[in-house]
């Protein structure tokens, strides 16, 4: 498998050299060709800067970036065979939808008839065949997103970058677009790299993901790897709001004296057990109820599936769990 994008010890610092803000700090990363790769992290973690380093809107302070093996350190954005779907879509307001989509072909000098034909094909691909003559202002958020997608794909890039592509859409539309993006990526066989702060989106869409924290990569792997075997407390906490157990609590629950993570859905309530606590919060989720228990001063979340008895706030309950679900992270 070839690597679509590789980062070798890449850093991007902002501000004065004496006290730099390290937006990206020594990142090593390999994104395989044809993968749907997610960069996940809280805001300010460096994920968007990494995306902008690939598109060329930022230059690395140090390190080397390669796209399909070629060093792009001295390549401006317009000569990189990658295209971006922007967070705010960045559609040109003075051009209609067809001209927006055909823009990339227009600047390459393709004749009008040919580029309009291509643009209409792309619009059909994103199910907006009849919208070519409209202005972006006349479209809904979801439709603008599709136009942005068509506009980025018309150039047949080898890598498509998506910056928080679904952030501005409502839940229903977001889920529909997630499926569509995934299907589109399968059909085109392109490398998609997308940035998100939404762990559910990253887990459900990506086949590989990198979790960013403070300009560094906390963990890279498949969604299952990261969800089931978080490498650090940060990853455990950020991806899927896991229970992070300090060594003493792990020990009390019958494990070794190490930091550990335990998923809420692997945590159960039991009448008796080694660790008990008081129920401090209940949140109904539809498919179940999330119960927060104060155990030795640590908030532990458990998921009670629908149909099972739910305790009341203030009840004392013991905690049980599936031993295989306890993931040890070392350290004391």
């Amino acid at each position: 498998m070839t690597a679509a994008v590789t980062f070798q010890n890449v850093s991007r610092h902002f501000g004065p050299a004496s006290a730099p803000v390290k937006a990206v700090d020594g990142v090593d990363l390999t994104i395989p060709e044809g993968s749907f790769f997610a960069m996940l992290g809280p805001s300010g973690s460096g994920k968007t800067t990494c995306l902008r380093l690939i598109s060329g809107f930022e230059k690395p302070t140090s390190g080397q970036i390669r796209i399909f093996g070629e060093d792009v350190s001295n390549t401006p954005p317009h000569l990189r065979n990658v295209n971006t779907v922007f967070q705010d879509y960045a559609l040109f307001p003075h051009l209609n939808v067809r001209d927006n989509v055909a823009y990339g072909l227009m600047v390459k000098g393709m004749a009008r008839a040919a580029r309009y034909a291509r643009a209409d094909e792309m619009l059909a691909l994103v199910k907006l065949a009849d919208y070519g003559d409209r202005k972006p202002a006349q479209l809904s958020g979801g439709q603008r997103q599709r136009v942005a997608l068509a506009r980025a794909l018309v150039n047949e890039p080898r890598v498509l970058l998506l910056d928080e592509p679904l952030g501005a859409l409502d839940l229903k539309l977001r889920e529909a677009m997630q499926d569509e993006l995934k299907a589109l990526q399968h059909r085109l066989g392109l490398t998609f790299i997308f940035v998100t702060h939404d762990q559910h989106e990253a887990l459900s869409m990506a086949d590989h993901l990198a979790v960013f924290n403070d300009g560094k990569i906390a963990q890279i792997g498949t969604p299952q790897d990261i969800y089931d075997r978080p490498a650090t407390r940060f990853v455990a906490d950020f991806v899927g709001s896991s229970n992070v157990l300090p060594p003493a609590l792990t020990r009390a629950l019958g494990g070794p004296e190490e930091w550990a993570s335990l998923r809420p859905e692997a945590t159960r309530l039991a009448p008796t057990g080694p660790v008990t606590g008081r129920v401090t919060a209940l949140r109904y989720l539809g498919s179940g109820t999330r119960v927060v228990i104060d155990a030795q001063g640590i908030d532990l979340a458990a998921l009670v599936p629908s149909g099972h008895p739910v305790p009341a706030e203030g009840d004392i309950t013991a905690i049980a769990f599936d031993p295989a679900a306890l993931h040890l992270m070392g350290g004391t």
Binding site: S55, H78, G104
Partner: protein, 310 residues
Amino acid sequence: MTAILPPRGAADRLTGLFWRRPSLLLFLLITPPLLWLGVVYLGSLAALLLQSFYSIDEFSGVVKEEFTLKTYAELFRPQNLDIILRTLVMATIVTLTCAILAFPIAYYAARYAKGPWKAAFYLGVMLPLWSSYLVKVYAWKLILAKEGIIGWAAEGTGTGFIISGILSIPGLEGSSLSTSPFGTYLVFVYIWLPYMILPLQAALERVPTSMLEASADLGATRGQTFRTVILPLAMPGVIAGSIFTFSLTLGDYIIPQIVGDSSRFIGLAVYQLQGTAGNIPLAAAFAVVPILIMLVYLGLAKRAGAFDAL
């Protein structure tokens, strides 16, 4: 506990009245400016239009108050056509020069200037507007005079031939820059430049950076981005600015009197016709010309798509 709090006085009752009848507030707010616009502005414009259809008795010099197109026909006399054409050419090149000079300044201010540099930009652009127009024009007369700083510097650096070269171009002749039409042009550009920079800067400020990045991302060179994205999106600002520079040049009667070869422009013609010559109808007809020119100009700009980005 009541659900309704007692009013605290007349102001509360008035606010309540406005809340129940929002149209009343709108009416009160908008009536004075509408009266101003309607009576003072449109009224005087109508009076002007009316006057332009009267004529003057050539022997008595008395205005004959009956409808005629004779006055408009007078505009087409060679010496009057000359004035209109000269003004039009001057306004056009002043506007073009202002747009070209203003663009990099406005672009820098909109995209790169931050904090104190932004403040310095606004101060730099606005500062000339705080001082008297007449003082600035007279200052320029001195700057451009034969003994002025430009002539002195040219003498000292041995570049006087450039000035003599400009002054020997047919149509720009004069004994110095301050008595050449080229001087008139320079002063026009200087005086109206801020009116071009400010709307242009406002328009450029509204172009998001992501739009320029999208253009580069899709393969456009900087030149292509400028032509196909920045310029069309800045066009409403350019047009807004050019309305100022164009119409102000069309109507100005002071600069051509002080700097230049005293050839007449529309503003100066109106000033002289309604004053010393007492020919109000012809002055009015002259004053209608810039209005027509502006209407045609805006119509052309609209057709060229200058307002598409609005």
